[in-house]
Structures are given as structure tokens and as C-alpha cells.
Symmetry: C7
Subunit: 93 residues, 7 copies
């Protein structure tokens, strides 16, 4: 298993076809386009000003993140992204 | 539903025609022009210096924000912006 | 009414003719030239290092601010500026 | 009267002739050359890390400041500078 | 023995052949590609906002780190990297 | 007398001949070369994270400082430098 | 004697021949190559977020530091470097 460090989150990106299926369509503009994914693993959080701030996202959450966020890894044949939680904009509930 | 993370806010931008109707007209200068919108969802706030600072804006608020702020998403056929609360200048009351 | 967020202040700029009348004349140098205005609305302040710092300026104050500070808005036919309180140099008493 | 905000100080610069009289002569090098002035008004100080730090300078102090510091204003026919206290290097006692 | 200072970690990088063997395959994209290694020594941690934050990684952990992170050293014939813990993305468990 | 503000220090630089006499010879490399001087006056210190940190140097100390540090002033016919204490590397004891 | 200020450390660099003798060989890559040295004197530490953080290194420690770190001085005929402790990667024990 992969355990992200600090405020990092392991995310499995969802392919564009699925994205359309879930109702999210990325608009055709010059702005940064976020991408959808599923949270696979979450770090314990990071210290901010002397306080350990626990992550808001949890395993299984469907999240919206900056398209160019994170670092790609391939693990047991699947593609993942490791990113900081601050790269995640929102959760779909 | 979309739940913004941290100090992020989900805003539905109001088209320019509506903007005129509500009394706001953007002046013709070289300065940055703010835009009007409606708050749809609000994060729980962010930690600043060890204190969780709750957002000042709430769902339903009509807000003025930086024109180039935030990230565009299309959700269930509608266009939204996810931005940090610090990109919001003021509330119309 | 417009309610500025955080440490923002809504200022009605005073035209140059008035500026002369109140005794302020901007010198002809290459330095940044401040501008005079009247405070119309004030945010509740901002958190600095865990402390909510209330604004020093209050509604009605005549203030001196950086000429290029803030964001222009037109509201009910009048021009205003929304700026951070840190863009205000001084109050005329 | 002009009341500087935060850690700002209102200074009346002293002309070069006076500077010579008080014993300060600026050397002819490529380094930044400070300038002398008199403190006319002082803000209440600024919050640093949760503590309101009162200014060290007081009205009447003769101070040495960075030549290019501050913002020029003309008030009731006289030239002043509004600068942050951190632009002031030293007091002449 | 080498004792890293502060929040630094001594890592023995694992060659690419091993990387494949453990199931990690780096994808062929333009994104930054992380690298795998084994933790050999760990500093005592660093002070963040007045709190000594102990490292999350421990000796023997198999870690994923930024490819260009750290400083190379050769010690008793072996190649190591000294990097800050923040350059480590995740632990394999 | 000149009283430096905050964490500033007034230093009388020692000419290169004296420098040689005291045993310090600056090497001929491309690195920044420090300079020697004598502390003439010291500010009360600066607030760092809510704590007033008193200066380590005191009047009379012989110090080593960055060659390009500080601001030159001429006072009663003598050349001095006003610099921040952080520009001082070491004291000769 | 030279007493470094704050979090500075006085280091006597060890020539490359000695480096080889102690088992450290710097690899031939484009990465930054650290250098070995001996700690001669240590400052009292620096305030970080209101806490005086004492240095981890002590006099006599053999340390590994960034090759381009610090300021060169020649004292009583010997070459030294004054650097911040954060430029030191590790101690050899």
C-alpha cells in the first residue's frame, strides 16, 4: 500500500468519458481546467502554525483538482497522482 | 452537491445583462474589473496562524469578485467558479 | 448596500478640484502620488497571527490612499474603490 | 491634522543645507544615501505576530531615513513624506 | 555513520530494475517522475511554528521521492541522497 | 548621538590596513568578502514572532560583516555604516 | 577567537585529499556536490517562532555542507567558512 506523507493525498484520476457520465463537462476556455478523481489514500495532515491540521478529504471521496497538480506514479499497473490537499478544490457529495 | 474545500467558495457568476439590472455598471478603464455572482456553497474555512477562520460569505450572498479569480467548472449543465474567499471583495446587502 | 470583506474598505474618491480645496496639492515628481477619498463602508477586519485586527479607519473618514490602489466599481451611478486598509496611508482629522 | 495609519510616520524632510549644518554629510559613493527629517506625526503601530508593536520614533524626533522611502504629499503648502517606520534607520539624539 | 541534520533524511536510491520488480513503473509523460529509495538515517526533525515536528519516515522505510531532490554523496563506496523530508511523497507499506 | 532603530547597528568600518594588522586577510576568490568594523551604537532589537529579540552585539564589539551591507552615513566628519544585525556574521573576542 | 552570531557556524573546510581518506568520494554528476569540514565555533542559535532553537552541531563535529555555502574568511593564516547551520546537511559520527 502507498501511504502519502503529510498533507499529501493519493488520487486515482477518472478518465474524461467517466467525467462526462458524472455530469461534469469542462468548458472550452483558456482558464485552468480542473479534473475529477477518487481519493485512494490520505496523509495524516500537516502542521500549520503549531496545529496539526487533519485533511478534509477521506478515502473514497470524489474530488475535483487542478489538472496539472501532483506527481504521476504507476503502481501495480494503475496510474495515480500524489498531490497536496491544497490542490483539491472540492468534494462531490 | 459540490462541497468546496478550506477557504474556497463556489460561485455562480451573474451575466452582464443582470449586472446592469442590479445597478452595477463596470467602468471603462484599464483597471481590473470585478464581477458579480451568487454564492452556491462555502468551505468550512482555513487555518490562519492556528485559528480556524470561518468564511464571512454564506450561501445565497450576492458577491463582487475579481474577474479572473477562480477555476471554471460546468456541473449539471451550469457554469460555476470555485475561488478562494480572499478573491471576493464585498457582499451586496 | 456594499459590505467590504475582511480588511477591505469602500472609498469614494474625491475629485482633484476638491483635493485642492482641502489644502492637499500633489507635487510634480516621479514618486507615487496619493489620492484623497471618503470612507463609505468598512470590513470587519482581518486575522493577523491569530488576532482579529479591527480596521483603524471608520465610515466618514477622509483618507489618503495610493493612487493605483484598489478595484473600481460603479454602484447606483457613482464611482467607488474597494481597497485593502493597508493601501490607506493616513486619515485627515 | 494628518494621522498616519498603522506603522506609518509623517516626516518633514530637512533640506540639504540644514543637513550640512547638523553635521551630517552624505558621502559620494554608489551606495544608497539616507536623508534627514523631522517626525511630525506617528501611527499607533502595527500588529506583528499577535503583538501591537508601538513605534520607536516620536513626534519631534530628528530621523535618518532611506532617500527613496515613502510617499510625497503637500499639505497646507508644505512638503511631507509618509513612510513606514521600518524605512527609518536611526534617531539623532 | 552519517546523521542528517534537522528535517533531512538519508536515502539509498533503488535502481530502476528493482523499481520495476517492486511493481512501480514510471509512466512516459512530461510530468516530474518520482523515484524509489530506502531510508538509511533520519534527522531529529525541524521546528515549525514553535513545535518540533518529528519526521514521519523511519529507518528502513521504502519511500517515493522527487527525482531531482536532494544532494548526492558517496560514502564507503555507496551512493546516497540527503534530502529534506518534504521531498518525500509517500511510504510503501 | 545616533540611535539605531530596531535591530539596526551603527558600525565604524576598519580600513584594510588595520584589518591586516588584526590578523584577518581576505582571500582572493570570487566569493563575497566580509569586512571588519567596530560597533558604535545598537538598537533595542526587533520583535520576532511576538518576542523582542535583543541584539547579540554590544557597543565596542569588533565585528565581521557583509561587505555590501548597510547604508553609509558621514557624521561629524567620520564614515559609519548602519546595518541590520543579521548582516553581521561574527564577533572577534 | 571568532564567535559566530545567531545560527551561524564557523567551519574549517577539509581539503579534497582528506575527503577521500575519510571515505567520502564526491560523485561525478551535474548535481550540487557537498563538501566536508570541521566545526570550529558555533553561535547560540536563532529564534524561530518565538523559540530559541539551539544548534544541532557542536565544536569538533565533522560536517557535510553545501559547496557554495557561507562566506570565506582567513584568520591567523587559516581559511574558514562562516555559514548558517541550515547549510549543513549532516554530521559524520
Amino acid at each position: 500500500m502507498i501511504k502519502p506523507l503529510g498533507d499529501r493525498v493519493l488520487v486515482e484520476p477518472i478518465a474524461k468519458e467517466e467525467t462526462t457520465a458524472s455530469g461534469i463537462v469542462l468548458p472550452d476556455t483558456a482558464k485552468e481546467k480542473p479534473q475529477e478523481g477518487k481519493v485512494i489514500a490520505v496523509g495524516k495532515g500537516a502542521y500549520k502554525d503549531g496545529v496539526l491540521v487533519a485533511p478534509e478529504v477521506k478515502v473514497g471521496d470524489r474530488v475535483l483538482f487542478s489538472k496539472y497538480a501532483g506527481t504521476e506514479i504507476k503502481y501495480e499497473g494503475k496510474d495515480y497522482l500524489i498531490m497536496r490537499e491544497s490542490d483539491i478544490h472540492a468534494i462531490f457529495e
